[in-house]
């Protein structure tokens, strides 16, 4: 399998190779520029898959033959021989643990290695991390809106970008806070709980109660079997009285379908309302039946359910979860920050698109209440800030002035996950990642966690890193 690469990674690789710079030591960082969906936070996801991509990174003979057929005929043979020898054995990757809360402009994955390989890994890592983090974040938002008790089910299989897009959606929605999925394959591959009831097609396939077979069901408490269709008809009359509706108005096929379903799953009956009216849950018996809804649920409709305190106890979310229509891309970027020991700077008129040069250590600073209040980027050679000691920092967006902060706790955010061609840190299970995400979210102050118009989370650089930035900017003007 050819590396997941954009073709320009290969033309650039050839450029570096021809200029004899392919083995220059280089470092790159992966981050996003703006909090998604109007919030401040995102969840880092896709790390384990990214590491698998790194471990598998090499060009097979067939890949090299293919590249030979598409690169210009002037490309030197020796370059292809060199490609065939490449792997990620000289690459080191540090990252925040999968499931961690992350913020705009803070690198959550760093790659070091030979320039050519660091360059080639750009698309691989972006492809595996971008959507994973986006959909995990989207799921986390639905979870924050729904509260801890509502069951959330991912039902996006038919709306995703094909089978594997759907698998990613199921996996990363689960990490972000969903309880289960409709996707049988995701259940089988990842052990995510699967749920499901019936669809319209089941209802449409019935026309009358006579089609219900078998008809009898023994009561759970023991005793004579009961004829369920007849029982259903008696209850229907009572419900119709309550609703002041003639029983003939009830659709017989629908009734038959639900009765047949109840006979088939006597202990696992789950009511489903797809095309429903939110105001209509006024029938007292509903309280004892689990009700699921699934009609084009969005953040907004979920908010409405939460406000109204309805009897619903499971919500299925499909399109609005997996396609992330509020923002269909997290827009992660992967930027070179150092080549041959020299820090790189991307110059642009757009302050937000400016990169922060140099290889860095990232710290998260916590206040006395245990809330993180700032992420801090320092140059790698700087000593770690100390808990309880005053720090002079420059906050991005207000670089002109120095701010003083005193962290109660200082946490280095990154761990080294990949070194010498191997994953060198034990990877947590899906359930552990999911739990870590909820813990990471719960540590945030409510003002930063807020889904809309959150308090901006400050991201800062040390005075020394700020000095380097200023120097490089002046030198290039």
């Amino acid at each position: 399998m050819a590396p997941l690469a954009d073709f320009y990674q290969l033309t650039m690789a050839y450029g570096h190779w021809r200029a004899g710079r392919h083995r220059a030591p280089a470092a790159a960082e992966l981050f996003f520029r703006r909090g998604p969906f109007g919030g401040a936070l995102a969840l880092a996801a896709g790390l384990a898959e990214g590491l698998r991509g790194l471990r598998a990174f090499r060009f097979s003979a067939a890949d090299v033959a293919y590249l030979r057929s598409v690169l210009p005929s002037t490309t030197e043979d020796a370059f292809f021989d060199y490609l065939a020898t490449l792997d990620a054995s000289e690459v080191t990757v540090t990252a925040v643990p999968e499931g961690s809360v992350i913020f705009a402009r803070v690198p959550f994955l760093q790659v070091k290695g030979p320039l050519l390989v660091v360059q080639l890994l750009e698309t691989t890592l972006l492809c595996l991390v971008n959507y994973a983090s986006l959909v995990a974040t989207n799921a986390a938002r639905f979870r924050l809106l729904a509260g801890p008790d509502m069951k959330l089910m991912e039902i996006g299989l038919r709306r995703a970008q094909g089978p594997d897009g759907a698998l990613s959606a199921s996996k990363y929605s689960y990490i972000g806070g969903f309880d289960c999925t409709s996707n049988v394959l995701a259940g089988k591959l990842y052990g995510i709980p699967v749920r499901g009831t019936i669809a319209h097609s089941f209802i449409m396939s019935f026309t009358s109660l006579e089609e219900v077979r078998p008809r009898e069901l023994p009561p759970l408490a023991g005793g004579e079997p009961v004829d369920l269709p007849s029982l259903a008809e008696r209850w229907l009359r009572r419900v119709c009285e309550l609703l002041r509706t003639p029983p003939e108005k009830a659709n017989q096929g629908e009734l038959a379908a639900f009765v047949s379903y109840a006979v088939t799953f006597p202990q696992d009956f789950q009511g489903l309302l797809d095309t429903y009216c939110v105001r209509s849950f006024q029938v007292p018996w509903f309280e004892t039946i689990p009700i699921a809804v699934s009609n084009d649920i969005s953040e907004q409709s979920l908010e409405e359910f939460s406000r109204q305190g309805s009897e619903i106890d499971m919500i299925g979310v499909g399109t609005n979860l997996v396609t992330c229509p509020l923002q269909p891309s997290l827009g992660c970027v992967y930027k070179l920050v150092e080549v041959n020991g020299s820090p790189c700077l991307k110059l642009t008129e757009d302050e937000e698109k400016m990169t922060i040069p140099g290889t860095k250590t990232i710290y998260r600073l916590y206040d006395a209440a245990g809330h993180p209040f700032m992420d801090l980027m320092a140059l790698e050679e700087e000593p770690s800030p100390s808990a309880g000691q005053e720090l002079a920092v420059r906050v991005l967006g207000q670089l002109g002035e120095t701010s003083k902060v005193v962290p109660t706790t200082v946490e280095p955010l990154h761990r080294t996950y990949f070194r010498d061609g191997q994953v060198c840190e034990p990877l947590p299970s899906l359930m552990e990642v999911k739990n870590h995400a909820q813990v990471s979210l719960s540590l945030l102050s409510p003002a930063h966690r807020r889904l809309h118009e959150p308090q901006p989370y400050p991201v800062a650089v040390t005075e020394k890193l700020h000095h380097l930035l200023t120097e490089l900017r002046q030198a290039s003007q």
Copy 2:
């Protein structure tokens, strides 16, 4: 590999099996309800993959064991034995040829077979057809906006739902009218032309012209090799004079990167403008260099380029192509239309969500100018309408009145693609599908093809089908 299924397909399957209806002959149709992106048309895509899914449709021993672990413990053993015997050998599929223009509410895929299998195939087919058709349609819109000569390149690998989402995006964008992709794997697997130039990271990795190696290039016309960095400096001074800008303002690293790239690819130089200003293409030499742009291109920015007639000759589209932000899901549905010889009707207050009952033949009617002017659904047992003869039809949305039409040509839209467990019609190559899509689009009248506020394309039913619909609606009231 377990079938691509939502879990409720399995609970419903058990319901049908327990009621002894699993082998009841059934028919289902796949269609969308509203033209995507505000247009009238879509392109049908994903058929070949859907057929592959059908051929591979079966439950392995591991799948059955997994299902046994997740279905309720009351599920009968014999049901699992039955699942293990299933395949698509009794299924017949008809469809419009891949790449055809299709319209809302007209079934573009029909499935017949035993009820349980027809039910189980719902998610498989939706998953494989939904996104494929959506992104092909999105690509077709970019092509219609760009005109026939502009090169369009798909660059969405890093923004898609993981590697396979990206492969689908590359394949179906190509079908919809794109010329090439940045996705190396899509190039290798599908033979789609790949293109690419350089990225910011390449530019950022250079700091001065001294890093350019090798420096010399022999002119194409023959003669002494030229020192390219020196030549570039001389030209830079001339360009700066023209732009009235001091040469010191040109970034030396950027200059070095482009010169190095030109030395590396002497015959394939492709200018790239990522972060650019549309008004700035006023340098006369630009006319002789192919220029590509790729900065967050949307339908709107493409329209601007077309209006201004700029020197750009290649446009790369990523996020706005592959994630389809204007409408991230086509919303295809798969509805039962007949069970046991009885037509099914989905009753709903929402007229748009009503289904058309019965198994049908679909015709496209053409006018004397060769434009399709109506799609017509007839019951399967009805004789085909005849070219040149007046037809009485009912147009959806105005079912109360009869319309008379006289088609110059009548085309049956569907072909039988799958029967007896086999694909029974030769499948066209990707290039043939791509060409068919352009032909299918070109036949449309401009009023129907228009991207915004198109003239609604009429979809009609025969008088006989209308009669059946009325009967079923009355019977169920």
